[in-house]
Assembly symmetry: C3
Homo-oligomer: 129 residues x 3
Amino acid sequence: MNELSVPTHRKTEFVEITELVQRAVAESGLTDGICFIYCPHTTAGLTINENADPSVAFDIITALDSLVPQGRGWTHAEGNAPAHIKASLIGNSLQVAFEQGRLRLGTWQGIFLCEFDGPRRRSVWIKIA
Amino acid sequence: MNELSVPTHRKTEFVEITELVQRAVAESGLTDGICFIYCPHTTAGLTINENADPSVAFDIITALDSLVPQGRGWTHAEGNAPAHIKASLIGNSLQVAFEQGRLRLGTWQGIFLCEFDGPRRRSVWIKIA
Amino acid sequence: MNELSVPTHRKTEFVEITELVQRAVAESGLTDGICFIYCPHTTAGLTINENADPSVAFDIITALDSLVPQGRGWTHAEGNAPAHIKASLIGNSLQVAFEQGRLRLGTWQGIFLCEFDGPRRRSVWIKIA
């Protein structure tokens, strides 16, 4: 298992980790297989979406904020219920195939750590098979 | 394939299945690999989130109820359209790595069967590779 | 890697691809394993839900349209921000086990390509392990 460490800088933020994941694939020495990407946190998640225009991530964040607003009478005492809810909506694991040592992503796709309760240092676990 | 049977007791309920999944991993005899968890139902799903404070699951359920309310003019004739919609928002499959025979979950993470149209007896399928 | 080509015919549409995926499994010659299904697009996704009554897919589409409406002041300049947001809510990868050469789906489950910005020709990538 490869453990990435990813710092985040805002309360809510999508941090692109495509190159970190690609490096883990390269270091594995395998040329062909599947890369499993796992977020071990309960107030962060993982998604794959467009990395060309940063406004896409911005709009996803805006949409999630409007779907799951702060201050709605959530019962979770730590005050970060929306972050937990968003994490379950986005999901915490991904799989991407690789061939000839390169991740097979679509043309416009990047892999993002979705921070919903930052800033913090987050872990992302990579397993290559 | 390991088939778990999980009873649910309410219309909407998150049932923690972490220990059941851990047992399936232990019984496989494998020490290192990936555990694939699959929900074969269309009105239930699977998620990973905090298992320390039950109010987290409660808040996720509340949020989904408010995002996908009953009685919105859904066309599905069986009356459980919201349960189907929630199932697709949450997702029906997960993967978790294991090492030395133990699931590699984050500190606060538990694995939950998400019942959206109970009470029923549900199946969860475990494949270990 | 098996690459399926799937035409879509509307702006938003769920196209069932269960038989195409089953064929890819059969052609692999493997009898037992896991089928990884991947959508390389950023305005489309993949979900598993009921395929008996088409009103289920219709209601999921309606719900997503109401959760992520057009014309909400999205910043992404191409005008298809809602399609990107829906793609991240639904997810872009699935895994389904197979045994004796057949996908192990639940009784009512079908596999759907979720088009959110069509009509287009879409790709779905299948990896069998």
